[in-house]
């Protein structure tokens, strides 16, 4: 956990530097008022100062840190796989349409968590996709991505 917190503080310091550089490119003066760079610049500086204090506190042991690893065995991989499957779903939703993409997404994710129950998974996925389509498209009339198949 300590390494993770140190990394997050460093990322925040990086964000602060990025914010300071980008804000200083914005026009800072106005006839009256504070200019459009005031909020981003002051906040970037604040993030930098606060993250440095946090980093100092972590390194010096002044900030209590939970003594447990960031992930138990396999947890990080499960999260990564869910993100990959979800990313694929978002990529496919426009080319193949909402209905097919959602069905495949359900099949992939349910199979990932409950391996080996293919028939049950397909039926559950079809039912969930039908339910979502009925609610969003037919009832709420939400505009959903449609593929060349017309669904």
């Amino acid at each position: 956990m300590k390494k993770g917190l140190i990394s997050s503080s460093l990322v925040l310091i990086g964000l602060s530097l990025f914010g300071i550089i980008e804000s200083s490119r914005l026009e800072r003066t106005m006839k009256m008022g504070v200019g459009i760079a005031f909020f981003p610049l002051t906040m970037s500086i604040s993030i930098g100062i606060l993250s440095s204090i946090l980093l100092w506190g972590i390194i010096k042991g002044k900030i209590p840190i939970k003594d447990k690893p960031l992930w138990q065995a396999g947890e990080g991989w499960r999260v990564l796989w869910v993100l990959i499957i979800f990313g694929m779903y978002v990529l496919l939703i426009e080319p193949i349409g909402y209905v097919l993409a959602t069905f495949l997404f359900f099949v992939a994710l349910v199979l990932f968590f409950r391996r080996g129950q293919i028939i049950k998974t397909i039926l559950t996925s079809a039912a969930c996709t039908f339910l979502l389509y009925t609610i969003f498209r037919l009832w709420l009339k939400s505009p959903l991505p449609i593929s060349f198949l017309g669904i």
Binding site: M1, G4, L5, S8, L12, L15, G19, E22, L26, E27, M30, M32, G33, V34, I36, F39, P40, M43, S44, S46, I47, L50, S51, I53, L54, G57, K62, I63, L70, W71, Q72, E75, G76, R78, V79, V82, L83, F86, G87, Y89, V90, I93, E94, Y98, F105, F106, L109, V110, F113, R114, T124, C128, L132, F136, L140, K141, S142, P143, L144, P145
Partner: protein, 496 residues
């Protein structure tokens, strides 16, 4: 006032508003029952589905989700010892022990009835306090608004989360995100890097669904466990005479604590329920029995977290400053529907305020009916395996966020903030200040610019007007006191 309330009831008692009030409280109960899906995530996920509705119907539904989640949270706390959302944590202590002793029915009954009484009393409080407060706040100019928003933000930052410094970083990060897009005064674009979707700023829906719903799903994905077993022998839902005698004053005290604690920005329903539980324990004749299954330990926190919803409407609707994550999401929804919360809301749209107030009375009755006889159905929802729940939440979030602009960029933004939210939770950074700051920053920036234009660029305007001076002083004090506490704790630790 009575005339206004009757008009409010007339607005709510239309088939559409009644249907969406019912839909809201039902969804709220489901969200409250399901562990992992909190009221902020649930409300944020469902905001896009209000786009086709008018503002009144939309807020009636969203408010229903908010207080419905408070009701639902008690069911899992009592039957499974698993709080559906953070404000139900205290209910676990005595509620689950009562269930183990075969008194699940009485615990659920007093939780539902206590919630109903507290919810109704808090709406009454809202009704009585809001109009005079709005009348006072109508005198506020841009400097007072700026000071008020600064105060709201500092209170939330200093009260949420485990560490003040992390809360401050989260708040500053939220303000930075709030500056993305066109500057409200000059129209010059900032940090949009040629992405058209970012010209209007980051959509609070994509960010809040990402930070709350997607991050919760990712946490859920870490440990896909079997559905929990629960105590399913539920009988005698109506508390007996002795239960009533012991809990009625706990309900009243819990209601008062919940309402007043949450009528100030910062103290959410979780803090209110903890305060109510601690108060009951302190004044009890048998404090040692708390935690072993005493009915007051269920009545007080459940009443407090429900009264909190009415209390939270005061800073939101009257002052335009949301006091919690859910209230911030509701404020974002109001802005989308063209309603600017604040004292002017009473002048321009009194019908809206009274309709929302009336809907809360009706919603509380609906919840009592839904929660007492159908408690078994809600408990059965716990049997939905995570392997179904995870894709379901992701798919619903995707459609919701997609409909913001009919654009997949919003979905990518949601995913990006989902990952950020996941790591924020891992490292103990509270996500609520990010949303609050994201929503308030454009308004704050506008108020700051207007104030400085009024004073010809002189910052003294904030310290020469009494209300602004008081509000800013309280903001500085709240930050300073938390900072002093933090420094003292660090000093004590290093000299131990």
């Amino acid at each position: 006032m009575l005339d206004h309330l009757l008009t409010g009831f007339a607005t709510v008692l239309t088939p559409t508003n009644l249907l969406f009030c019912f839909f809201g409280v039902t969804m709220g109960t489901i969200i409250g029952v399901l562990p992992g899906v909190g009221p902020v995530a649930g409300t944020a996920m469902l905001v896009p589905f209000t786009f086709g509705m008018n503002a009144t119907t939309a807020i009636i539904m969203l408010a229903g989700i908010y207080y419905g989640a408070m009701y639902g949270g008690s069911t899992t706390s009592i039957l499974v010892n698993l709080p559906g959302e953070s404000s139900s944590v205290m209910t676990c202590l005595d509620g689950y022990q009562m269930a183990r002793k075969g008194r699940a029915g009485a615990a659920l009954g007093i939780a539902a009835i206590g919630s109903f009484i507290a919810g109704t009393l808090s709406v009454l409080g809202l009704m009585l306090l809001a109009p005079p407060l709005a009348e006072f706040a109508i005198r506020f100019g841009p400097p007072e608004y700026f000071a008020l928003m600064a105060l709201g933000m500092t209170l939330v930052i200093s009260l949420v989360g485990e560490s003040m410094i992390k809360g401050l970083i989260a708040g500053a990060f939220g303000i930075l995100l709030g500056t993305v897009g066109m500057d409200p005064t000059t129209g010059i674009e900032r940090f949009s890097y040629g992405i058209p979707t970012l010209l209007d700023g980051l959509s609070f829906i994509s960010v809040s669904v990402g930070l709350f719903a997607i991050s919760e799903v990712l946490e859920m994905a870490e440990k896909v466990s079997a559905p929990p077993s629960y105590i399913d022998k539920i009988s005698n839902l109506l508390p007996n005479k002795e239960d009533w005698k012991r809990s009625i004053f706990s309900i009243l005290r819990g209601s008062a604590i919940g309402f007043f604690a949450c009528s100030m920005p910062g103290a959410g329903a979780t803090v209110a329920s903890m305060l109510a539980y601690a108060t009951e324990k302190k004044i009890s004749k048998y404090p040692e029995k708390f935690g072993t299954g005493v009915i007051e330990g269920v009545a007080a926190p459940e009443s407090a977290n429900n009264a909190a919803t009415g209390g939270a409407m005061i800073p939101l609707l009257v002052l335009g400053v949301p006091g919690s994550g859910t209230a911030a999401v509701m404020m974002g929804a109001l802005l989308i529907h063209g309603m600017r919360p604040g004292p002017l809301l009473f002048e321009k749209h009194p019908d809206f305020f009274w309709a929302v107030t009336a809907s809360m009375y009706i919603g509380n009755i609906m919840l009592l009916v839904l929660n007492l006889p159908f408690v078994g159905i809600w408990a059965r929802m716990l049997k939905i395996p995570h392997s179904i729940l995870i894709p379901l939440i992701l798919a619903i979030s995707t459609v919701g966020v997609f409909t913001v602009n009919n654009n997949l960029v919003e979905v990518w933004i949601m995913l990006f903030f989902g990952i950020i939210g996941y790591f924020m939770k891992k490292f103990g950074f509270p996500p609520a200040p990010v949303i609050l700051a994201l929503i308030l920053t454009p308004l704050m920036e506008n108020a700051l610019q207007q104030s400085l234009q009024m004073s010809h660029g002189n910052f003294a305007i904030f310290f020469t007007r009494p209300i602004s001076l008081i509000l800013l002083s309280v903001a500085i004090l709240s930050l300073a006191s938390s900072l002093i506490k933090f420094l003292l704790a660090t000093y004590k630790k290093s000299h131990r």
